[in-house]
């Protein structure tokens, strides 16, 4: 089982002292400091702003979708909201938030002096902010996948900014990948691969994914821009271009892209679980194997995103189907490992009270809920029936993005909260946030699965008043409001507790068990 060095390697000891980092930050440290914690805090806070914005947009278009027919938004504004929701949530919220969590945790968890090449992380943040501003100004309405030639024929005179923003996102993510890979490799060199903490394996996998995939996105953005300016015609079929070139290039980024928030979320989970349980992960090498297989598969399964097209047939379709189904193996290795870790000894009551731990458990739950249906999604026959581009796809990726990754990001954020503010979050408010989110996300995902099975099409602002469509849509909107309400509780808790929360001293996550000794709870 666990070898002697596991306790050190798995990091069951605290890495920081509670400290009011945010309170001590001035505007210039916020903007320009190269201290790794300052950059990480900045990344987290702007990600949460993006979450608020993207969430507000979701509330708005969900209000339109609550009932059939057109109530508030016409097609253009609806699609702008939808597009910005997708882009802000993926590029602006979830990827930067989990990457920032890694910036914060990596130096201490990996046992390094500080974050190597923090300058790259700084540049990455600035480019992302510029990209977000450009996106909001240009208000694209072509969905986050901007399929040409449709995307070349929509939008106003400012739409070129959207393509520039995508290019900046690609560069920003590339730089983040360099930072993560460099830190991961440096730690591996220092301690040896066999003693590299799992966060280091996460950093290396994530770095490889980012560096390998983002050049494709950059190329697509440049060609889309020149096509839009009518200087070239790579993707415009009417002018002799080829759409399939776009599909293969874009999704070569697009599939690794959905693992970009996944890898850090998994790495954070592997880091936090031992902290709350006070014991190492059940199997180190199983986790390493899973990281490695997932990294390789991420790059080769992408044709499943446009499978029911004529060009993905025959042997290419078959291979894609098998590889996609095989993603089951590494994902299950991860989940198996987490459950086995939870199971092999008692769960301390300090963990049961800790809100980050609750979010971890919810993440594991939703990774299963979102993951198992991939068994159906991956099969060409079912994909050509009710899966492709019905709500079945958003159901799958919302279970993964929100249920797993956003929940896990919240776990990481609550965990770091005393280390960033020197105070504890309000326990009651945090619990309220937790339950609002879990109920909201569960209902939302289930309604989306149901709608997908009833062939509800993606990207529509108006729909036929069918019984099997209208009812779940109404419930879905209610669930979205509940998630929004949870977010408001969360933000209120952050602000209120930052000045009035109970001061945290020593180890805020010290392990205690009521059954063993009646110790004061860390967060009451």
């Amino acid at each position: 089982m666990a070898s002697p060095h596991d306790t050190v390697r798995m990091g069951t000891t605290p890495h920081w002292e509670p400290e009011d980092i945010i309170g001590k930050m001035s505007l210039s440290t916020l903007l320009f400091s190269h201290d790794y914690r300052h950059i990480a805090v900045k990344g987290m806070l702007t990600s949460l702003v993006m979450l608020g914005l993207g969430g507000l947009m979701a509330m708005l278009f969900r209000t339109e979708l609550a009932l059939p027919d057109i109530q508030f938004f016409d097609a253009r504004p609806y699609m702008s909201l939808m597009t910005l929701h997708g882009m802000l949530m993926v590029f602006g919220f979830i990827i930067p938030l989990v990457v920032s969590l890694m910036y914060y945790m990596m130096p201490k968890v990996l046992g390094m002096e500080g974050l190597l090449w923090a300058r790259g992380a700084q540049w990455s943040w600035w480019l992302l902010i510029i990209a977000a501003v450009l996106l909001v100004i240009s208000r694209p309405d072509f969905t986050w996948t901007f399929y040409p030639p449709m995307s070349l024929r929509v939008g106003g005179p400012l739409l070129w900014m959207g393509f520039v923003a995508v290019l900046l996102v690609a560069i920003s993510e590339f730089l983040a990948g360099m930072v993560l890979l460099r830190n991961g490799l440096a730690a591996a060199k220092k301690f040896g691969w066999g003693k590299l903490p799992l966060m280091g394996w996460g950093a290396v996998s994530e770095g490889i994914l980012l560096i390998g995939s983002t050049p494709a996105l950059g190329l697509v953005a440049i060609f889309m821009y020149t096509d839009w300016m009518q200087w070239s015609a790579f993707y415009d079929t009417a002018r002799g271009g080829n759409v399939m070139t776009f599909m293969f290039t874009f999704w070569f980024y697009g599939h690794p892209a959905v693992y970009l928030p996944l890898m850090p979320a998994i790495a954070v989970l592997y880091t936090l679980l031992p902290r709350f349980l006070g014991r190492p992960i059940w199997s180190y090498w199983s986790a390493v194997t899973a990281f490695s297989i997932l990294t390789v598969l991420a790059f080769i399964v992408y044709p499943h995103h446009f499978q029911p097209a004529e060009s993905i047939s025959g042997i290419l379709g078959r291979i894609t189907q098998i590889l996609t189904l095989l993603i089951f193996v590494p994902s299950t290795l991860h989940v198996f490992n987490w459950i086995a870790t939870l199971w092999y000894d008692t769960i301390p009551s300090s963990a049961k009270r800790a809100v980050p731990f609750k979010f971890i458990v919810a993440s594991v739950f939703f990774l299963m809920v979102g993951g198992v249906t991939a068994y159906v999604n991956a099969q060409i026959a079912t994909d050509s029936d009710f899966v492709h581009n019905t709500y079945f796809v958003p159901a799958h990726f919302h279970a993964m993005f929100v249920g797993f990754m956003a929940n896990m990001a919240m776990a990481g954020f609550y965990y770091l909260y005393p280390y960033m503010t020197g105070r504890m979050y309000g326990q009651g408010l945090a619990n309220t946030h937790f339950w609002f989110w879990q109920i909201g996300i569960f209902v939302k995902v289930m309604m989306m699965y149901w709608l997908g099975f009833a062939y509800f099409p993606r990207w529509v602002f108006d729909y036929l008043p069918l019984q099997e469509w209208a009812m779940p849509q109404l419930v879905l909107t209610g669930a979205a409001y509940l998630i929004g309400l949870g977010f408001i509780v969360f933000v209120f808790n952050l602000m209120w507790s930052a000045s009035r929360g109970q001061a945290a001293t020593g180890d805020p996550w010290a392990i205690s068990d009521d059954a063993v000794a009646a110790m004061p709870a860390p967060a009451e």
Partner: protein, 198 residues
């Protein structure tokens, strides 16, 4: 309703597998959290589980390929007859309809060059071959009642076939790929006429 891919049995099997695996996973998670009994799992259990998963992957690939090949065989037959000498195109189908998907709608052309902007007309239970073509941007083509979907890249012809529902009536045809602001309105009807029995 008869399914074009004939997969209701196959789909149910796959969903049953999904629910069983999910149920096992959730049960294990809750047991690990709440059961008083603690249990150190053996590494070989994980190996066993992975072997089980690979079995499931093998089964899914086999079944999906079987169903899809059987479906595609009909289309390949039609294409074979097309290229064969002097035979009627699409002889193994009761009806061939050419479909042009455009921003934003579908045009249906029948064998005798009749064109409709909003309805594909069939008789109950007929085997219908759709020859699909998108002339501007990427579109989708989906008929929920018979459970079939395709993604249409502009400039590439795509064939689909269905068995029309037995019950006369109007069935929705919709675009599933975002194709511009008119996407939500890109709908048409599969009209199954009721006078004669097939």
């Amino acid at each position: 309703m008869e399914n074009a891919l004939g997969i209701s049995g196959y789909t149910s099997t796959m969903f049953a597998i999904v629910f069983i695996v999910l149920g096992l996973g959730i049960a294990a998670l809750f047991a690990a959290l709440f059961l008083p009994a603690r249990w150190k799992l053996k590494y070989r259990m994980e190996f066993g589980f992975v072997i089980l998963l690979i079995g499931l992957v093998w089964y899914a690939d086999r079944e999906s390929t079987r169903v899809y090949k059987a479906y595609q065989a009909e289309i390949e037959m039609a294409e074979f007859i097309d290229t064969a000498e002097a035979a009627e195109p699409g002889q193994n189908f009761d009806r061939v309809i050419r479909v042009i998907a455009f921003q934003w709608g579908f045009a249906f052309l029948t064998d005798d060059d009749e064109i409709s902007r909003n309805a594909a007309v069939t008789k109950p239970g007929e085997k219908v071959l759709f020859r699909l073509f998108a002339n501007d941007v990427i579109h989708g083509f989906n008929i929920p009642a018979v459970g079939i979907t395709a993604e249409l890249e502009p400039g590439v012809e795509r064939d689909l076939w269905i068995r029309a529902p037995q019950e006369p009536g109007k069935y929705l045809i919709q675009c599933l790929n975002y194709c511009g602001v008119g996407h939500a309105q890109m709908k048409a009807w599969l009209v199954v006429e009721g006078e004669e029995e097939a």
